[in-house]
């Protein structure tokens, strides 16, 4: 099959890398250096912020890529594959439930984004949930209904702005004379100490991530569900 099946006797997986100073440092020093209790968020958005920026870019890329691959502008729907399980009948129960659920989901998503410093979650998870709320809307009604909220142009703008927010924080620190993404320097333009500036910046960055993820998740869904025509969903 491939090289993996020829694994030699896989020796010593049980010696964890956890003792190395790297992870120790993350665990023990995060709070001091960034004032963020959730180490995962801190490492994600600060120590390895550059990675995360490109993680956002990956999402963004995927969105653009799918538009590039699938999207059909204009009206050439002739060869569009019709969904095989397509019914238009609206269902009262589903409709009502969704109507109730969606605001709650969105509220929860906002909480997840904002509270990522202290509890599990953050921009990415929140963004996915937020995006899922629109997807739910599109599934329960149809794509048009959801498009009213977030038309395609706005999706793209949102996604781009999200990445820009993230990168803007980096650029800000670069313009202030420090290295890219060195948030601490942002305290000069923020009412906070350098360490708190890191924390605040992380929040900002998370919001940027959330923007992008929300927009792109919905964009991917609507492209996939409408086979690129953006007209009728499932």
């Amino acid at each position: 099959m491939s090289a993996v099946s020829d694994f030699p006797d896989w020796g010593d997986p049980n010696s964890p890398a956890n003792s190395y100073r790297l992870s120790q440092h993350y665990v023990t020093e995060t709070i001091h250096e960034t004032s963020v209790p959730n180490m995962v968020t801190a490492v994600l958005a600060d120590y390895r912020g550059y990675d995360t920026m490109f993680e956002t870019v990956v999402i963004f890329t995927a969105g653009i890529a799918i538009i590039g691959i699938l999207r059909r502008f204009g009206n050439d729907d002739k060869d569009a594959a019709k969904p095989t399980l397509y019914t238009k009948k609206p269902d009262l129960i589903i409709d009502t439930t969704c109507r109730l659920m969606i605001p709650i989901i969105q509220l929860f998503a906002l909480y997840v984004i904002a509270h990522g410093h202290h509890s599990p979650g953050g921009g990415f998870q929140g963004g996915v949930i937020f995006g899922a709320s629109f997807i739910l809307l599109a599934v329960s009604r149809d794509l048009q209904a959801a498009q009213k909220w977030v038309p395609e142009k706005r999706i793209l703008n949102l996604a781009g702005i999200g990445v820009l927010i993230y990168a803007g924080f980096g650029l800000g620190s670069l313009l202030l004379g420090q290295n890219f993404l060195d948030y601490a320097i942002l305290h000069k333009i923020m009412p906070a100490t350098p360490i708190e500036a890191r924390s605040h910046s992380m929040l900002g960055v998370e919001i940027g991530v959330a923007f992008t993820v929300t927009a792109i998740m919905f964009s991917i869904y609507s492209n996939l569900a409408s086979n690129g025509s953006m007209k009728e969903g499932l």
Partner: protein
């Protein structure tokens, strides 16, 4: 700003790509100038960085201001700086070429195209300059996703090729990720240089996990660079993609992966581990010999121009992998020099193929009928590229072969030398077939024809300036790289000389 030049190398195209995505739909006209400007900025930044590296030695740029290995750093030495210049330069030329070609091939997705294009360059540049093993994976995926899309934007056949590429590319990238995981489990670090230090400090080179990590990473990278038995995805993808996409993917994707291989082999694992402890160079050189021959011979069987070129890429990958594994100074120098030279010469021939496709709508080499009279300047561009691929002085291709063969001779790998020569000859056959068709026409007149005048019907009918300029600029670049090879090699050898191979050629 000079301090920030390393970051600007990729930030400029990155930011602009987002602006293009935001504004491109409304103002289609700005996509092209913005992209070109940003790539000019990127070239400038990478050249500045190269200058600094030459003067000051390795540059370390801490992102987020964190001390490595806590944070991610760029670590730029002579090798990356050089490759970054090549990548951004090739990107710039391909971008200029795109102007008309995009309008011709994917007219309704201009802004998407440029966004993806710039993100691809961003990803590739990021891979080149980063010093963090995991960050490399992320950027690998950025460039992979963009390249899937760039290929899938093509016509019918391209979609299936793109699908295969998605699957195989993901396997490759995942293998790489897995290997990094193995390294992490053993060393606890993700910074490439720190991993190496940890490997030494803990003295765990004997551990099977490290061995597996090495194998998995190498295989993953080989898949991504289409090294011979793992190359199945490449020919169709590059042959059927839009010409603009193959003009950028063909030259850069495989070359950057070769850079990654060199970087990982030497910086992370160290030459002692790779060459002395494992002692696999014989096997791998033989594999590369097979790759070279297989690539060249498959290329001979093609009549589709771009497919033929795609197989040539596979052969060229064989050159470079073999060159690295010769375990010889000159071989390594040759490989690195070939990364740069080959990036430009592949660009040259792919641009040519693109121009032909856009102008004639044919993919076949019969499209070249009588081209010397119809498009003389285009043919000049091709000639330089072809001579370079064949290895005729003073083009860059000759000198890379010169160094590679020198490495082969010095390390006693005669099979490699012979394979290189055979492949050069096959390239000669391939390109003179093209040149013949272009020169004589598909069906030359019988007997002594063509007296009395220049009988070819139409006068010159050149491609537009925005297509021709990059082609000729690439051709010029090939000559410059060839003539100034000594300076480039001097830069490379400042990198290579850190590793003590037996033979010191310089």
């Amino acid at each position: 700003m000079i301090e920030q030049a390393p970051a600007l190398i990729l930030l400029v195209p990155f930011f602009v790509s987002i602006f293009v995505a935001l504004l491109g739909n409304r103002f289609q006209g700005i996509c092209f100038p913005l992209s070109v400007l940003s790539l000019i900025g990127s070239v400038a930044a990478s050249v500045t960085t190269l200058g600094r590296v030459i003067n000051e030695g390795t540059i370390r740029y801490r992102l987020g201001g964190w001390e490595p290995p806590m944070g991610i750093e760029f670590r730029i030495d002579a090798l990356n700086a050089l490759v970054a210049v090549a990548v951004s330069g090739v990107g710039l030329l391909a971008a200029i070429y795109s102007k008309r070609a995009v309008l011709a091939e994917t007219p309704d997705k201009v802004s998407q195209y440029y966004t993806l294009f710039l993100l691809l360059i961003t990803g590739l540049l990021g891979m080149v300059i980063t010093g963090d093993a995991f960050n490399l994976y992320v950027l690998l995926e950025v460039s992979a996703l963009t390249s899937y899309a760039l290929i899938a934007m093509g016509p019918k056949r391209a979609t299936l090729a793109a699908y295969k590429y998605v699957i195989i590319g993901t396997i490759g990238a995942s293998f790489y990720l897995l290997g990094v995981g193995y390294l992490y489990i053993k060393t606890g670090s993700l910074n490439m240089f720190d991993i190496h230090e940890q490997l030494i400090a803990r003295d765990i080179f004997d551990s099977p996990a490290i061995l597996v990590a090495f194998i998995v990473i190498t295989v993953g990278v080989w898949i991504k660079m289409a090294f011979f038995p793992l190359h199945a995805w490449l020919p169709n993808s590059y042959a059927y993609a839009p010409t603009t996409s193959s003009a950028i993917l063909g030259p850069l994707m495989t070359k950057v992966m070769i850079y990654v291989m060199i970087r990982l082999t030497f910086t992370v694992f160290g030459s002692d581990f790779a060459f002395i402890q494992l002692d696999w160079s014989d096997i791998i050189v033989w594999m590369s010999v097979v790759a070279i021959l297989a690539g060249s011979i498959s290329a001979l069987a093609q009549t589709d121009l771009r497919k033929m070129l795609s197989f040539l890429i596979i052969a060229e990958v064989g050159y470079m992998v073999g060159g690295v594994w010769l375990a010889d100074d000159m071989g390594l120098v040759g490989s690195i020099y070939h990364i740069i030279a080959d990036a430009f010469m592949t660009l040259c021939v792919f641009l040519f193929a693109g121009i032909i496709f856009v102008k004639t709508g044919k993919r076949d080499i019969t499209a070249l009928d009588g081209l010397f009279t119809k498009m003389p300047l285009t043919m000049v561009g091709l000639l330089v590229g072809a001579f370079s691929l064949i290895g005729i002085p003073p083009t860059a291709g000759f000198f890379s072969k010169w160094y590679l063969i020198q490495g082969g001779v010095a390390s006693g790998h005669w099979e490699y030398v012979i394979a290189l020569l055979i492949s050069s000859l096959i390239n000669a056959v391939l390109f003179f077939r093209i040149i013949e068709i272009a020169y004589f026409g598909v069906k030359p007149a019988e007997g002594h024809g063509h007296h009395d005048s220049d009988t070819h019907e139409s006068g010159p009918n050149e491609a537009s300036f925005s297509m021709l300029f990059p082609l000729l600029a690439t051709a010029a670049a090939l000559l410059v790289i060839g003539l100034y090879n000594q300076d480039i090699v001097a830069i490379i050898s400042s990198f290579v000389s850190q590793f003590n191979f037996g033979v010191i050629g310089i």
